[in-house]
Symmetry: C2
Subunit: 224 residues, 2 copies
Amino acid sequence: MVKVIVADELVKANEETAAGNRRLLEEKGVVMVNLIGGPGAGKTTLLEKTLPLLSDKFCVAVIEGDSYTTCDADRIAKTGVEAVQINTRGACHLDAKMIEEALKQLPLDELDLIIIENVGNLVCPAQFDLGDDYKFVLSSVTEGVDKPAKYPLAFRQAFGVVITKTDLFPYTDFNLGSYIEELFEINNKLKIFPVSSLKDEGTEEWSQLVGRMIWRKRRGLTVM
Amino acid sequence: MVKVIVADELVKANEETAAGNRRLLEEKGVVMVNLIGGPGAGKTTLLEKTLPLLSDKFCVAVIEGDSYTTCDADRIAKTGVEAVQINTRGACHLDAKMIEEALKQLPLDELDLIIIENVGNLVCPAQFDLGDDYKFVLSSVTEGVDKPAKYPLAFRQAFGVVITKTDLFPYTDFNLGSYIEELFEINNKLKIFPVSSLKDEGTEEWSQLVGRMIWRKRRGLTVM
């Protein structure tokens, strides 16, 4: 029983902190997006390609979650966008408390958008709300079409799915139609973005969506 | 503090159960292999291609870890090999207790080999010993070369790494030389197996290695 009670307490404490993060960002008019995906799903590469588009129009910062290294934050820094690194020291997800600390390091009065890159893991990050406005799952065409059924929580909570590495379509047995069916089976409200960061396909469309999220928040409209 | 104490207790209890599993399989002369990899790394596909080779010569069973579905166990069943399904109900890894229960369902006196397919996750499964003889990490060429540095625990504990989806080499910027350097930086004893399950390349070599593990155990030799 100990395990269950402690887990419940942890989740409850996390939800309270997440609600606090959400209130703070609501006050400051900042949109926060949470990117979730397995190792190598293409989260950092999507950011490398879309941050230059977004930071042209908006004031953007990134919170980088990683078990040990700073290699992703270093890649983000090269785009000229400010990145706060959170090292979880082996832990498998970010939690709301870590984000609360990271927010203290960011100039919230100036920012329009914060993008969080979660730890590379499709299971645990889905269980911890961070106080974000929108969650996106990133899943590559090489991962196959069965991931929504196998990791339903992440897909159920997501606002959208970015299908990455579409340049590899011709070399895999990935079937986009079947995949979309699998996605809608789990969550029929998902926005779907096929993207090849390598070939700059779909990256502008995704950036435009994120831009619309910012405009909506500025006008005091609720999330989409 | 509660969190830390409970985590330590859980890990200690898991280690005791894992040691029990290991003793039982030692007695029975059964080799147990633990496959760890992120979502879509190609664990099930490797098994689909190698189980027919292995079950030709040895008596083999599979333990399938999955958060919710039975889709992988169904794929294994089609190869004619017995598969025990463990549904973790959202939990992000298998633990030794789950394996202890699964072993009760298997004819250990007849078996030579048990292959465990862990939950698709490169973080948490590395923290829980199952009582296996050999751990393999599966990582696909599309995941990029930075995974050993980012998920060091899994690679440090592994006996070998199966580099999957090598048929996609020509369409990615994956550099095998750099990857092997990254691997050896973390663990210079790793056995490395580049494999394309799709094209049946490297699958026979991996099966032969697993076969040698069985022969060694039959002769009472320690693990390699």
